[in-house]
């Protein structure tokens, strides 16, 4: 009896497993499609889809940029220097005494040291040959977030100008040659008097200015260190190497880029943003013969809007401020345009890092078209059921500021103004039969 039941069970179970693999009956000729949607592309001129455009500057500071810039008369225009301050000097050193026991010694004497600077060898900010880099002890203190070419400190009720623009003056600490073909860093030795200029444990100094002494070059500095050679009190025939920590750094440059009148600018340090205020028509007209497919003018509805992309044409940025690496472009809704330039922003409309653009696109002759997907944003704009419509969208880099270089795009008054490319699909309703 058991065997008979087992046969029934096995047969049924095997059939059940067979049921798990399905290929739906599918017609390949399209004759069974119950709909014949019509898809058309409509390109709106700037005047047809936007009300105004405005570039804003001043987001972030140069001190927040990962890579500082050194430049000397780059493309005959740009000077940039790095100012760095080492705010924590070592308090003690671990030294073995005459019995070999490791002891903490806080009564050591600085007898020398050296500055280390590391540079980016992977980007396009690379010199073609060796360059000279110098260091000077700053004659006055500075505030990294507010320091600029002419101002050392610009905080509330405290405005201090540099004695000389560009953090000039001070005592020369020496120079070194950096050959990017050989290494990624330089070392500038310091004697005890020079170390004393930079401070000690209880008297932090004003910092160091690095400058490029080879004209026509722009390079990226990643990091600087101050290493100190100390003679311990408990073992005076020994020298130990200690590091200053808590480095604060920024770069100051001249000139700053001029504001753009009607162009689109994104990036830089501090960063630029450009805000577009959209004003979409209620209906659009398809080009050429497409009006025979759809009824023109064609009302814009969220159901019909398959795609909306902002088409921008890159323009040559000022040569001194052309991006050294790919520039990523993001778009976000401006939630309170009346608070611009400090309006809160919505989530990214693009996602990820945004749209990547090669640096060559911002050089002379490198013009290219860039598509910024705005489908969800535009769909909400043409949706009558959305009451609080957001009409402003800001173009920016996803990380601000990212570099001194910024991206430029042709504005409304140019030969290649921004356009809004819409792909619309008109369809009947799917019915049950």
């Amino acid at each position: 009896m058991k065997r008979a039941w087992m046969v029934a069970g096995l047969v049924s179970a095997s059939w059940g497993l067979l049921a798990c693999e399905e290929v739906t009956p599918t017609s390949a000729d399209g004759g069974l499609l119950p709909l014949e949607p019509r898809t058309v592309e409509v390109v709106l001129s700037f005047e047809d889809f936007a009300e105004q455009i405005q570039a804003y500057e001043g987001y972030g500071t140069a001190s927040e940029v990962f890579e500082s810039v050194l430049a000397d008369d780059y493309v005959g225009v740009l000077d940039s220097r790095v100012v760095s301050r080492y705010v924590v000097f070592p308090w003690s050193a671990s030294v073995r005494d005459s019995t070999g026991t490791l002891r903490a010694d806080s009564a050591f004497t600085f007898v020398g040291g050296y500055l280390v600077a590391r540079f980016d060898t992977t980007g396009t900010n690379l010199p073609t040959g060796p360059v000279d880099i110098g260091a000077q002890a700053l004659p006055q203190g500075f505030d990294p977030p507010t320091a600029s070419w002419t101002v050392a400190v610009d905080t509330i009720n405290d405005l201090q100008l540099w004695d000389q623009p560009g953090a000039g003056g001070g005592v020369d600490l020496g120079e070194a040659v950096w050959d990017p073909a050989v290494s990624d860093s330089i070392v500038i030795p310091l004697d005890s008097a020079q170390v004393a200029l930079l401070g000690d444990t209880v008297d932090i100094g004003d910092g160091v200015r690095f400058d490029l002494r080879t004209p026509g070059v722009r390079i990226s500095l990643i990091d600087t260190d101050l290493r100190l050679l100390a003679r311990p009190n408990i073992h005076q025939d020994t020298t130990v190497t200690l590091s200053a920590s808590g480095t604060v750094r920024t770069f100051i440059y001249d000139p700053v880029p001029l504001p753009t009148s009607d162009g689109i600018r994104v990036g830089g340090a501090p960063s630029w943003r450009t805000v577009l205020t959209l004003a979409l028509p209620e209906a659009v007209t398809a080009a050429g013969s497409l009006c025979s497919l759809v009824t023109c003018p064609l009302e814009l509805t969220p159901e019909r809007l398959t795609s909306a992309t902002l088409e921008l044409t890159t323009a040559a940025s000022e040569a001194a401020f052309q991006p050294a690496d790919s520039l990523f472009l993001d778009a976000r809704p401006v939630l309170a345009p009346e608070l611009l330039p400090k309006s809160p922003l919505g989530s990214s409309l693009i996602g990820g890092l945004g749209v990547g653009i090669a640096p060559a696109s911002f050089a002379d002759g490198g013009s290219q078209t860039v598509s910024i997907p705005l489908t969800a944003f535009v769909r909400a704009l043409v949706n009558d059921s959305v009451t609080d419509k957001v009409r402003d969208v800001v173009l920016l880099t996803p990380f601000e500021p990212l570099s001194i270089g910024f991206g430029s795009f042709e504005g409304p008054g140019s030969a290649a103004p921004p356009t809004l490319r819409l792909i619309l699909t008109v369809s009947d309703t799917v019915e049950v039969r």
Binding site: M1, K2, A4, W5, M6, V7, A8, G9, L10, V11, S12, A13, S14, W15, G16, L17, L18, A19, C20, E21, E22, V23, T24, P25, T26, S27, A28, D29, G30, G31, L32, L33, P34, L35, P37, T39, V40, E41, V43, A286, A287, G288, S289, L290, C291, E303, T306, S307, T309, S371, P373, T375, I423, T425, S427, T429, V430, E431, V432, R433
Partner: protein, 392 residues
Amino acid sequence: MSTVLRPVFGALLCCLAVSPLQGQSLLSAWGLGLPFVATDGRGVALGGIGVGLIGGELSVVDPAASARLPVPSVAFSFQSSWADYQDTNSSGDYSGTRFPYISLGYPSRLGTVTLSFGGYLDQRWSSSTSRLIELDGVGGTGRVTDNFRSDGGISTVRIGVARSVTPDVDVGIQVGRHIGDVSRVFTRTFDSLDVGGTIEAFRAGGRWSYRGWLASVGAAADVGSILRVSAAWTWAGDLEAIPDENTDGAGEVFALPSELRVGATAVLSPQLRATIGAHHSGWSTTDEGLDEGGARDTFGWGGGVEWAGLSVLGKASRLRLGYRNTPLPFTTDGASDPSESVFAGGLGMDLLATQGVILARLDLALERGLRDAGSFEERFWRLATSVRLSGF
């Protein structure tokens, strides 16, 4: 539940979860779908009419069949099919397994109470095509792929009672509901190279649920000991298709047909029986509700022979041969009226019997069929397995 029964119900649950009503024909795209009869492997192999069989106690379509069910029983069936089609411009193949029915019967003082769930109309199919369209009005084109997918179907759930009114006459009645739903979604996707970037697909469509009443009465009679005749008449109320809140499409009401099934089995010898039957469905009443194509009344017939002088694995078994021919009710513009003709063979095994009561029965049926509508031809193999377990 005994360990022996677990794989059976495991398989059942697998099919219920994965493919409650899988599509098996491209003709599911016409009208309200492809009708099919929820019957077991024995009924399939004997002409597919489903009434008038001797011993068909748990038939979904024969209300009187369960009148003489001696013990509580459950029956269920699986159907796997492999089909290919050929049309003027296209061809293809597909496969699927569906779950035609499950039926329970419980003898009581009133008679045998039955509860069944079975398929009625299959609406699972899709259509896909890729082509170039002009996008910008000045010659710029883009490749699009249009896809339409219909996924769902209509089933029946019935509760009924059957009893013998005389030693030779059985009657039965069922009431039930048409239930089910269908998702119909059109999707247009764009080639990212042609349109210069990734564009999300255009989608349109929705989901409708089905509701409708049905009732069925039937009677069967033994004429001497050599003939059993049976008839069943099913009335169906209007079928409502109700869109859900996210569906733009409208609701619809479809008139469903009444259906008459008659069948008879003659005992030609102690080991040989012959069955014949026919059905008429008034599908033309549905025609008015269809926006596309039409519907027509159908009259189908089928029959077969069963030989019981066989033993497989030491179990009493039966061989069956059958044939049926059925016009399909739904038509479409520009195509000939469709029909289906099927040859079938089958094997039935009484796995467990005691004191003349069959406690476990396995029925297999293999069908080879053709559905055609002018230039459209669809050929299929279908394997049906049904199991009846009693006395639990």
